[in-house]
């Protein structure tokens, strides 16, 4: 069953809030790494691991390093779902 973008963004928001310890954080597909001060390399790994667990996907090393925005994560999740 295809994922709805609205479901994905809600789940991503929960993950971002958890990782960045900010219960009021708002994210949108257009949110870039530069927009979130604490989105450093370690936080990026934690995001990837949490997203992989939530959506039961596994991103390649290239995908991990190429994602630079919330939209990037959404595309990666969608790609893995389409491949199933």
């Amino acid at each position: 069953m295809p994922l709805l973008n609205s479901d994905v963004i809600i789940k991503l928001r929960t993950i971002f809030r958890e990782i960045f310890d900010d219960d009021t954080m708002h994210i949108a597909p257009s949110t870039m790494r530069e927009d979130i001060e604490d989105w450093d390399s370690v936080a990026h790994i934690k995001l990837v691991l949490a997203i992989e667990e939530e959506f039961a996907v596994r991103m390649s090393t290239e995908e991990v390093s190429s994602v630079k925005s919330v939209a990037g994560f959404m595309k990666a999740i969608e790609r893995h779902f389409c491949d199933r």
Binding site: D40, S41, T61
Partner: protein, 481 residues
Amino acid sequence: MQDSEARMIQKIFTQQDQELFAKLSGDYNPMHLDALYARRLMFGRQVVHGIHLLLWAFDVWLQGKAETVELCDLKADFTATVAVSETVECYVLSDCCDEGVKIRLTVGGLRVAVIHATYVSGAAAVNPAKANLLFSTPQREECERVPVNALGDLSGRVALHLDGEAVDRLFSFIPLYLSPVQFAVLLATTRIVGMKCPGMNSVFSGLLMKFSFNHFTLPELLFRVSDFDDRFSRMIVEVSGSGVVGKLSVFYRPAQKIQSSYVELSERVVCPDLSGQRALVIGGSRGLGEVTAKLLALGGADVRITYHRGAEDANRVVDEIKSGGGTAEAVALDIVAPKEDIASRIGDHWNPTHLYYFATPFIFDGSRGKFSAALFDTFCHYYVTGFLATFQALKARGVAPRKVFYPSSVAVTEIPLDMGEYAAAKAAGESVCQFLDKTEKETDVLFVRLPRLDTDQTASIVRVDNMDPVPVMLDIIRQLK
């Protein structure tokens, strides 16, 4: 609750704190204790144990308690490292029976740890294992160096220790209010990670624990690696026993970068003939300076390297070069010391024809999106005023070097968000190079924006394609011949 509304306590962790905690926990990993060793690791400095931060946060929290507590669930994320002598702020953000306690630690506004625990008060559980705790400090052991390919089978057990005297010297309220067994369990986790699993190459990044009130008698903690993610060199260590099951999140950090030996280089590269060149390599004990010094010596140059703190590293480089038939000496020099006499340090009658300047502090010390004037100032001491002072000191002896190399960086062009200060200081250094090139008629100054090269400074748990420094530096040496 906003940080401004929360109770805040500050602490500076000292070398004495580090040593006391190592004794208490049994985690003697040199990343925490040995400043000289730690400067060559990915953090570039000696860092406080994550569990020490966690327990100090608990000590702050428990200060407001009137009853003992037993933890139920505990989650801790260590999001950034804390250096010895940095000021850490502890915010107890919320604390109620239903939702537990949430604590945030920061350094200069940067979040370094987040802790969330649920608990029951007044339980004062008569824990049958308490009487069996070892009321002594763990015996000091050698730090294990478990290779990556052996992590999959790694498992073991550690006894729970709790030495009252060491506890009292570090904590005021934990001994009064926290379950001793749970305290000992938390201490054991850092010993497992820092000394055994994987030991030397560890970075403890977080834990998730579930405590129970099941009866048990053997005060020990079992551990085993349950997952290793080679994309990030990240492992999960499951722990169990003494009324707890949990997962420790650990990164396998890169070891110190060992540069090619003099013998290996002699078999690998063809150096130009550099006989007659007297090369002064500032910062030649490791990294790019080390590689450059060896290549210069291979070409027949008479090399003097300087070092600040790494006498052992510098002597190793010199010994390698001499053993291979080259000429080299090492001299101690602090490039940012205001009254350092560079000229006399390198020898009154030895005038370098070439200056290669690699003096640098740890370069990844910035915070994303923030520009620190203090950090910029530190970089400028090395990359601008230190460089200029070195050149001027040599010139003041009557003979300026004919050729000067200054390593700039692609960061000047790219300006990474956490390296603004570094990029700005290197850009200023480039300007000094251009100024000297125009004003010093006898001297050619070359600066190159180097790519990310494989050294201690660029080591990372995230896989990054660092370039081999040998061909890059060889090309520069050829240009400066």
